[in-house]
Symmetry: D2
Subunit: 363 residues, 4 copies
């Protein structure tokens, strides 16, 4: 028994690099780019790991020839700019900008996974991040890299700010409802649960196994940094300033964010007729917005999101319920914080940038 195979497809491979590839997001980005059929990983940097191969640092990737050949280097901008056409920055906020500036000048496209270019207003950045923005002149140029909202802008961008993990889990469900005027921009509450990888690969007692296992805890209330970009984007969708309540919780899973959003229908739902009618309009709104999106899964009436259905994938699961007792609309989303909430979304943007099918390397 045998199968005939035609010659493999050939294509340009785009040379790409990752700066800061030793954290959890960086590692996930490595995984995705190593398996991407049209990306050629030409450099990865990490001061700590410089000199070692990718396979030595991450044995899990050793099955891929490229991981056995490619060595981590120091983050030298000239070296990178000479080799890569697209550079991913997986660095802490405040540090990423210092690389973005010269890389853009050298003609590279930059996809930044940090918070440095997500905000349009340097004042908001200072308010939430506690220091002046390192490159405010670039803020106008950056595109917020959420493909479901800004697909066209991403295609032509030179600087893409990949959204934060929590913001993705909130913006995808809420923006279409605000745009459609189905819900009020007042009184929005987002309550999120996040796996521990969201805290990064940092040697801190708070994130030790023993401290997290059998532990449930809120943190970062009431003014988590991600609020800044969430509110920026919700305000754009609503056409007016939006202030929301956001409560993150740390829970003992490696990966996954589960967000529950509490919304008030735009007109009083109790008066507006049966809850079922509102639910139908929400369903219609989501179908229009996401019915053809490859990475948004609408659970219309069939179950509720569960992070185990999305971990390891770039999919965001979405469900909604109208509570006839309170008139409120509840929306639930589940995503992998490291994939759709970080690196997968960055690769999705990369595909757009390169004119590739958006799902390339992500299914």
């Amino acid at each position: 028994m045998s199968v005939s195979i035609s010659p493999a497809a050939t294509a340009d491979r785009v040379p790409v690099a990752i700066i800061g590839a030793s954290g959890y997001s960086g590692e996930e980005l490595l995984r995705l780019l190593l398996q991407h059929p049209f990306a050629e990983l030409v450099a990865v940097t990490s001061r700590q790991q410089a000199g070692q191969t990718v396979a030595e640092v991450f044995p899990r990737f050793a099955s891929r020839a490229r991981a056995r050949e490619l060595r981590f280097t120091e983050p030298d901008v000239d070296f990178l700019a000479a080799r890569a056409r697209v550079v991913f920055l997986a660095l802490p906020h405040g540090v990423a900008a210092a690389y973005a500036v010269p890389l853009l000048r050298a003609g590279c496209r930059v996809i930044d996974l940090s918070a440095d270019f997500r905000l349009r207003d340097a004042g908001v950045y200072r308010d939430f991040y506690g220091h002046d923005h390192p490159a405010p002149e670039l803020l106008d140029r950056a595109v917020y890299g959420l493909p479901e909202l800004y697909r066209e802008a991403i295609r032509g961008a030179s600087l893409i700010a990949a959204p934060g993990c929590y913001p993705t889990s909130i913006l995808v469900p809420v923006v279409p409802l605000l745009r459609a005027g189905l819900v009020s921009a007042e009184g929005i509450i987002a309550d999120s649960l996040s796996g521990v990888s969201g805290a990064g690969r940092k040697a801190e007692v708070d994130y030790l196994f023993v401290e997290c296992h059998e532990s449930l805890r809120p943190y970062g209330v009431p003014k988590h940094r991600h609020l800044s970009e969430i509110e920026q984007e919700l305000s754009r969708a609503a056409g007016r300033p939006v202030v929301i309540q956001f409560t993150p919780h740390l829970v003992p899973v490696n990966r996954g964010i589960l967000t529950t959003v509490y919304l008030t229908p735009a007109t009083d739902a109790r008066g507006a007729g049966p809850a079922a009618a509102l639910a139908a309009r929400v369903t219609e709104c989501y179908r229009a917005a996401y019915g053809r999106e490859p990475f948004v899964r609408l659970l219309a009436g069939r179950g509720l999101p569960d992070t185990k259905n999305v971990t390891g994938t770039n999919v965001l699961e979405l469900a909604w319920r109208v509570d006839p007792r309170t008139g409120r609309l509840l929306v639930f989303s589940a995503e992998d914080n490291l994939v759709k909430g970080a690196s997968g979304q960055a690769v999705q943007a990369f595909n757009l940038l390169c004119g590739l099918p958006e799902t390339t390397g992500l299914l």
Copy 2:
């Protein structure tokens, strides 16, 4: 080196029994009563385990002589009534009432961990539990067994309905605020995370290790059964009917409930002056309500609740924050769903019933 010890304290031991001691709440109740200095466990029942000793069914208790002697029996009311003065029912709702009726008639005090006697209105019971109440004539007689709210009534009660796990985590934080008129009775949202033991020791695929580990999921929305008792008690506190939003989530810990409650200050907080002033009034309210309670830990400004600080104990941790951006009051509670949320609270009520110090056997 040696220590002189006077003869051990002597006291009446109250003969007690547990009906339905093979589930997680029953097991925890066994643990607490086996170590209780003034309870004498005279009978435990479980159809499934009848004939085996407590130590055989639960090896973890084998260090206690009583666990090696005492055998599970069938649940025979005459047998139990002849031996026990206080009987704990750790049975499913709808089943508990059938035992409560004859036990009360025989002169036993009954502490019921099921939902059967938590509601005052048989109609609400039918609405939420889907069948007629099995013994509506007893509803007036039952006392809602939350000592922090109904201490005096519990002391003299013959039938105590131990509160549900979620209700405890919500009522303890919210009732004093409603009573004090500090928060509005409108628009209350309670978002809860629960460990898997809350689902009981049931052989169902949904609660298998592999299905729960690395899984975060909402469930039971928007009308979870516990809403009925939560709203009953909040309505009593507010002096008017209260309808709330309640969203439970299943998360991968064995034990623990973490609840976040979103509240609106009674008068518009944005107008009422700085958030700090409201926070101070909330602090004052909680100090007055719980400052001397042995099982409520107020985290005034020092950190946020973490279930790992309360699991295995009868303590509920409580913290609060006023968000100056939204004017909202956020309250956080953490408890062990099997202790303060079930069996520990039942023992606390037992102590009150017996005129014992409330912390007996619970510290």
Copy 3:
């Protein structure tokens, strides 16, 4: 910026079916075959799920068009034989054989993930499985589907018995050493830790989250069923009957087997010179056996296996140490019990059967 892509490769797709696809191995097989570039999933069966689409039963696969179209059916052999060239059986032992017989007669190739065709001796089967073998006439025809050991036989086989999860973790490390005469066939001890998915998707109290989380326990000692195939294969490698000690433990991870094997060097290692010399010969032996194997990762001196480096992949990690104090050789392996220990290995065999590169769909 855009990338030019040549037309996609075209190839025959082999029509395949899975019988019993609702357990954990079946689900993993679904995942692998849905993403396999040269397999066309034409039927999946499950009595329980019949009528539902794959995407409905397993939301995680809903991103694939095939999963949204394909419906589970009842396991009808004629229906399957008319459509599929290769049929995977993901059924309990004792049940698989009843499907294998007619499918083979109808000309299908069969890859069986159960234990039914792993043993060559029906008497051993009866001894370990407690019932007569359902189709002893097929035992001669079956090939033990461990590609690293039986690659050539697999290519031409009509009936392939995919090895058990524990056996894979033991045979891969031990067989080459026995074949090379480096270790004694006497006194071998294999001590294994397995994740809970190994117990299958069965609604039993023992595998509930609460029963497994924070639990470490041996089970199935001293005569676990997998011993039968382990000893059969070790005996073939040694050229003489081998009896080993095997102790499985259940530990709270979803996936992964970690096996530690204790071996005695063939000649007395204390007399044979320094431990380093023996270690070098073992390294040489493994390099010869597995140096070019895509799915065996030799950790020569660099660290020890960790299941987190192999979960989700078809790779088995292997490390070894000679203890100069005892003269013993210790070998460690890590694998994903559902991939290399079950479904991935079955797909690896499928690739061989079809004349495809062995790593197709598995990297």
Copy 4:
């Protein structure tokens, strides 16, 4: 209904102190001593936490009045010696000795949880711990604090070395068998699984939640430090030098050690008659050794150990099987590494030291 209670028992309370109480063992020791009826915690030290109350550092203990009053101090020997009669050292090896010397000189009894006084031979200490022993003159004076083996010596000791967690899990099962001559001192293999708290509260990447969850890994092979005390004690039991194989594994639980020991019956078991006969002699041996021990639970034929049955307790569970196929004896033990494997055992020794019932404060 009320219960009459006689006045509480009165007794001398022994003033005790803990040096280094901020790690996991120290925290567990705090828990046990805070609830101990005849210990009075007069001082706790931790450079890092100095100035804070015990309740502030460990909110879980805040229910105890003593925890709210007592503040951590710097480790000042004069201060401690003036206040405490018994001092517990919960410090790293190499550091403990520096405190033991002056405390003993000042007349305190010292219970050391580190490895500093477990070995009788300073040369072995240097070999395994990599530095000279800091106080070799005290080695003769120290008693190995395993009550089941050295009860009488502990009663009169001034310096007690609480055994390591792994050694306890191995010595309790093996020593009686060696003493009785039932098993060979040759070829002993101990394979252990340990929860992550065994690694201590250290901010290292290896012990982060994400690195340990869904991870199974051996470590410290082939020459773990605990081998030194294991072999010392086995050699004493055997009356001749014993060298064993010991393999620890790190598994994702907070607490618990599960050890499987592989033993060869003293005379060839295959020739000595049926396995059942050997098993009976082992049972008899264990009953004689531990039948009356409060903290060793013999599972004679009834199940196998499970760490979840012992976590939080000072009990070690023990089971055994003779494999008729190999003639080998397998022994399994389960303990809580922080209780019987560290702090509980230290309190057990404290009780002996003070002439108290051995189970005081430990049931």
